[in-house]
């Protein structure tokens, strides 16, 4: 008769994990898309020639040649 057992449902710990995962995902999405954590994504990791990534961008644009 074990063949007819109904599915007991998703365990509580899985639901807790899921809620935490969704919360973390939303937090990351907010940080990335609002720019709170600075620019993100692989592109931000490669500054164009200047390794002084901590300096404000204006310091590099000030010395740039006008178009």
């Amino acid at each position: 008769m074990a063949d007819l057992l109904p599915y007991p449902g998703t365990p509580r710990w899985v639901k807790v994990f899921g809620i935490i995962a969704i919360g973390v995902f939303l937090l990351i999405a907010i940080v990335v898309f609002t720019g709170v954590g600075g620019p993100h994504g692989p592109g931000r990791h490669i500054p164009s020639g200047d390794i002084a990534g901590g300096t404000p961008s204006s310091s590099t644009t000030d010395s740039a040649q006008p178009p």
Partner: protein
């Protein structure tokens, strides 16, 4: 596709070794990232980032991929299966996420190492990038790997709907189906 007892033990040993090694390697990486970010000694900063790149490519990435692959083999070759039990499925997802983020981080790690090799990094140089290596990336990765290790030990109960069907439903099918 169930493995023999000897092969299963070999696969399990390989998976445990790779997974625990991955956890330890990320802990070491975190220590280097903190040293590179906080040390006032320029030589320590340079050494930390050069060592980070070396260990990333020679230890962390190989162990992460090996952990993922041996885990999949271990799951598919035993009655646990890959999609039958929630703890196995959650472990798989967490390892995939950790490995993916790690692979995305190899480029910035190499960039910082190249910068450190080229000149003495001041505390302001690449500050945001160096901070992000500590938190959230290395610290978050370490936390996820601690979770996967805990899941492996405790193996919390709970079958997926697919696993439940496989266990209780297949015998209900008519003969020959």
């Amino acid at each position: 596709m169930t493995m023999t007892s000897g092969l299963r033990k070999f696969a399990l040993t390989a998976h445990v070794a790779c997974s625990v090694g991955f956890l330890g390697a990320v802990a070491g990486f975190l220590a280097l990232a903190i040293a590179g970010l906080s040390s006032r000694d320029a030589q320590v900063v340079r050494a930390a980032y050069l060592a980070m790149e070396l260990t990333t490519w020679s230890v962390v990435v190989p162990l992460s991929v090996a952990s993922l692959l041996t885990g999949i083999v271990q799951a598919l070759g035993t009655p646990w299966g890959l999609f039958r039990h929630y703890w196995v499925l959650v472990k798989l997802l967490l390892t995939v996420v950790t490995t993916s983020v790690l692979l995305l981080q190899t480029e910035p790690i190499s960039h910082i190492a190249a910068a450190a090799a080229e000149k003495v990094l001041s505390s302001a140089d690449l500050r945001a990038l160096r901070s992000s290596l500590v938190f959230p990336h290395a610290a978050g990765g370490l936390l996820l790997l601690l979770v996967t290790t805990t899941l492996s030990v405790y193996k919390p109960r709970g079958m997926t709907r697919y696993g439940w069907r496989k266990k209780h439903g297949q015998h209900a099918l008519p003969n020959g189906a």
